[in-house]
Assembly symmetry: C2
Homo-oligomer: 227 residues x 2
Amino acid sequence: MATRSAMSWTDDGDEPNDDPGGEAAPTRSGDSSRRLIEAAIEAFADRGFHATTTRDIATRVGLSPAALYVHFPSKQALLAEISVVGHEAALDLVERSAATQTGSVDRLRAVIRDFTAWHAERYRVARVVHHEIAALADTDQSRVLDVRRKIEGVVEAQLSAGNASGEMDVPDTRAVARALLSLSVDVARWYDPRGSRTAAQIGDLYADLATRMVSARPPAPPEGERT
Amino acid sequence: MATRSAMSWTDDGDEPNDDPGGEAAPTRSGDSSRRLIEAAIEAFADRGFHATTTRDIATRVGLSPAALYVHFPSKQALLAEISVVGHEAALDLVERSAATQTGSVDRLRAVIRDFTAWHAERYRVARVVHHEIAALADTDQSRVLDVRRKIEGVVEAQLSAGNASGEMDVPDTRAVARALLSLSVDVARWYDPRGSRTAAQIGDLYADLATRMVSARPPAPPEGERT
DNA sequence: GTCTATATTCTGATAGAC
DNA sequence: GTCTATCAGAATATAGAC
């Protein structure tokens, strides 16, 4: 399970008014599972998994508390769906980004830019994905930790390649890979869509910061050279 | 309230066996408030505020569920105590670190190193402090957000000073200050004391990364200069 | 300050009609 | 698939004895 709907709700979820009828009735039928997931993401992200009640989620969608259990066997299963699909979407994104470039520096830049922008754009999903792991069942925890290791692997591979080519100078590739991803991930914690910087801008900035962090530097310029 | 005990439980909390008697009886008297706070930090950090029960906290200390309410008016008040004191400890740390150095680069290095190491060493407090803000009452939220702004101000001041002196090249001091602190803060989310790197090592690494992120660079060396 | 109850409310989940 | 009604357990917090 969980992978069945793959990226179905991943692409977008901020504009639920894709109603062809145009009426936007509060209790439209459509795909209830999808709407429940979107409501759960919002609630989990804002208040946390344990502070959110199943009643709350169902009510947001205009359903009775019992209706949720037709679509998901438990509140925890709902979280698992969100968390597993969210992780897989992030991994997919990272692999696609890396594939668009060839050099290790450009690859790292693309990965950090897109991974960061995703954590801003989809900050609610990202928050749930990163802050509610402890609430998952052990088996689901293992699955998402596995995905995380793969994401870290993609980044660390670029650092190792960059070291080898001489374009980078990273003494501890494991720790720096984790730091780079940590930096991007934490955007979801503080990002506010009403803020002055767009998700894309933050992605670009972080790609620059990442480049600075890992780039090999010339021997060391003599002091006081700048205007 | 909250400030009354200031840094009383902040300094250390990982070794409760400071029993002069040596017996380490599970239900020693001592300061129950302090022991409740330490138990709450552990529980909140591991499972989250809402997933933790007052019974759980009291039981860990060897008290009955009702005993907690002699020392704290509510579960939320316990969280507020932890959160406010934790924030103030972090601000105090940052200000002390900055004061140990004079140049903006050295100041930034010291601040990032100590702030990061603190988030690793005291990762449980840090987790509660950063991930349970939504569970605080509005008035307490304002207080901690105020402290956060002060911390960000200290860092941003170094970036502005560094720009002015020419030692740094930071286009967006606000965004970069937030990124630097975000990087340090997120250590608390993933840090595991059983890991291979010590808190001090991570602090040093992050100070290096921070320096790389903000340092002014020589004009741009001609391509392909390295061996 | 600590205990043993217990009040009160809420929550996840189920039963069974439509 | 959705509803109404409800169960069973759990959680925060209080009352009152010691």
